[in-house]
């Protein structure tokens, strides 16, 4: 490693756009961040009182919720009569919804395992997450690369007719390229344009999870058919 390289200072007119950094980053390593010591306050009482308050509020909310809404209870378990549909707990309904599109080995094993592995390796990616925002440098090249990646990524979803998945991809993709279309200087566009690829991937995951769970909870009826909750009720 060549340590004699000169430290250069990034300079720009707009301080907000390009904060001034003094950086020395070895390749293949992520940056370690250490902030200047902040202003500090005594834990007691400032933090402790907040924690106590928070816990009280939490308990108040939970108790009121529990006083008014009863936990569900159905008839005693009977292995001979399966309700139609049988639904998993809501947090697994995303998986159950995937099961509707993919073979069990994919939906029940592969995808959840991939998600957990992906989550675990996040901090070990040796890329600098925030080195650059999406649309900097060779925009045309980046756009083509991105589009090809998105298309390739979504091919399996289209093959298996997993509409929620590729629809979510389309939504996220359109938000990603939005700054290219509207090169506005307003706050929203600037904020979007500053998000990195990692943020977009996580947003996609979040959107897919939410959409699948909502579909599973509200829009699925007997035989896992599509229903409208305001017409057929919630199963």
């Amino acid at each position: 490693m060549d340590n004699n390289k000169k430290i250069s200072i990034e300079v720009s007119d707009d301080l907000r756009d390009t904060p001034i950094r003094v950086a020395y980053v070895k390749s293949h390593s992520s940056i370690a961040v250490e902030r200047q010591r902040d202003e500090e306050v005594m834990t007691f009482p400032h933090l402790i009182i907040r924690e106590a308050l928070l816990f009280q509020l939490l308990l108040i909310v939970m108790v009121i919720w529990s006083l008014f809404i009863d936990a569900p209870l159905e008839g005693i378990a009977n292995p001979e009569f399966s309700p139609n549909p049988s639904k998993a707990p809501w947090y697994f309904l995303g998986l159950q919804e995937l099961l509707h599109f993919f073979p069990p080995i994919v939906a029940g094993v592969l995808l959840p395992a991939l998600v957990i592995i992906a989550l675990i390796v996040i901090p070990y990616f040796s890329i600098n997450w925030d080195r650059s925002s999406m649309w900097e440098g060779n925009i045309r090249k980046k756009f083509f690369r991105l589009s090809i990646c998105v298309v390739l990524f979504n091919i399996p979803f289209v093959i298996y007719k997993a509409a929620p998945l590729y629809v979510c991809s389309i939504i996220i993709y359109s938000f990603m390229i939005l700054p290219l279309v509207f090169r506005g200087k307003n706050g929203f566009m600037r904020r979007i344009s500053r998000l990195g690829l990692a943020d977009w991937i996580m947003s996609w995951f979040l959107l897919v999870t939410t959409v699948l769970i909502l579909i599973g909870v509200f829009f699925r009826g007997p035989e896992w058919r599509w229903i409208w909750p305001w017409i057929d009720g919630i199963y």
């Binding site: 306050v41 009482p45 400032h46 009182i49 907040r50 106590a52 308050l53 009280q56 509020l57 308990l59 108040i60 108790v63 009121i64 006083l67 569900p72 209870l73 159905e74 008839g75 009977n78 009569f81 309700p83 139609n84």
Partner: protein, 654 residues
Amino acid sequence: MRDLTKPFGIISVLFFIIMAISPVKEHYREWRIYPREYNEYIKDLPQRITPVQETVKQVWVPELDVVDRCTTCHLGLTNAAFRDAPQPFKSHPEMYHQPERFGCTPCHQGQGLATNVESSFGFSKDWEYPMFSSPFVESSCGTCHNEDSVSHAPLLNRGKELLAEYNCAGCHNITGIDRGFIPSLDGIGNKVSKEWLKRWLTNPSSVSQNTVMPDFLLSEEEVELLSDFLMTFTETTDGSELDPLPEVLKSEIPESLFDEGETLFRNARCISCHSINSKGGTIAVELGTVASKASKHWIYNFIKNPSKLQPGITMPQYGFSEEEIQAVTAYISEEFIDWDLSEEEESTEYQTDPNFFEKGLKIYRTYNCGGCHSLSGYPVVENFGPDLSDLRNKPHYQLEFGQKDIPHTKEQYIIGKLKDPRGFLENSLMPQFQFDETEVLTITTALFSLQNKEIPAKYTVKKEVVPSIEVQGEFGKIVEKYQCLTCHVIFDKGGTVAPDLTKSGSKLQGKWIKEYFKLPYTVRPILTERMPNLFMSNEEIEIAPNFITGVFRDDELEPEIEFLFSDELITKGKDLYNNTYGCQSCHQLQGQGGYVGPPLDDLSKRLKPGWVFKRLKDPQKYDPDIPEPNFNLTDEEALALTAFILGQGNKNEK
């Protein structure tokens, strides 16, 4: 940093208030309020009643898996002082089982574990057995009492009868009820006309008002196809053709023959079983318009040998001679014609479908006609409707209410289904029955009693299964030919219309029986059903009484007492009859007395003294249902009464 001490103080107060809500609510739970109210209520009662504690009380019956907390609030359940108390303290009307041993829910259903009104009585997602509305409570009797007739449960008993009568087991699996009598369709092509069959299939009850056959709501095309299909069956069940119609019946029938037939029809007492224009017996079918239904040819053959044409039918084979048969046939086919029937049946041009047989068979199978009828070569399709053997426990979500606008309860579902079977789902095949309101209630009650749940043997009452003894030999042939078991019981088998014959050998005198077979008269004039004159041959009249007096005996009924009816004994008996026991209030003797029991005139030739003696001593022993009171007579008194009834009382003197 913001100082949060003040918000913390406020929130803390709020926090403690919120945390106190549930413990405070606890104090006002229903199971605490009702005991408090009870303790207030008993203060105003004249009797001294110990107050109760505010606790949950429960009846726990491990064998029945019952935990009932009903008595927590129903505190006056077994106390007569609470007869007029308001609910929930009111006492139970009449209790057939102690609640301490059985709990409440085995009869009433509802959620025994619950301690509030809503959950105990109502239907909820976690409790699918809401309390029965009052008529259906009787169904619970049937879960443990498997006898044919359960005392104090008239709705259940009637319902079970109706289930059998309407042959519900023809299509549904119903525990304890077997598939009933199956009118064979063999030979129907020779029996009825296609026009008649079409009218019948379109709506059976419009042809015969009291028929049990439901309306299958067939389309016109289905009716045509099915009639064409059925008309092809002309052979009897054993595969033979009908005997040819005698010449005399083919042309104009001579009046003398008709008159003879009329006399025979009357003498044979056909109306004991058959009704004519709704008058007469109810055991067999209405004959008022039978000639418009069945062909002369078929009637002739049927009277000749009923069970050849219709195996299993209860009609006796009368001992008519050939000429008598012709006469009766002549009378029936000339007399019982439906004059209302329009002469010119509009014979619209109907092109017979070339594949009518296959299509008809398909309809026959679709509607499970084989469930009730037999047709040789087309065996019974096994229970084709939903299994009803566990209806009581059928999960709620399996009930398809469809678009029907009724409360979504199981009770309403069954009632709705009985009234309008096809109203729930479009592709339902259940036919439309002609149930009236009461029948719907009774059938629903009976259906609710059906469950597969194991109940410990000590809690159940089993149906008595008696090994059936077939009557063999010559007498057995007579019993079969004249279908005695339609009305009489022999060895615990047979109908309940007429007396049990099993022990009649000890009761009746052989000579009397002989006379009776020659010309039966009515022992009990108030009954509709009378013993028909079966026109038995002399030979048979010899065999039957011998068999009866020889075999149908019970030594218990023949005490070894010498019956010597001295005048002294008779006088004493007369005194007992008229004064001590007042027998005349129910029985007729020499034209005086009540009508509840049979008349006692002329018994000396009919009854054996031993039987009379035993019968007087303990009437219920031999016939548990008889209303005759048991006076606990001494031997001496019984002997005197026997002497009076059989000796003096019948000598027609004042």
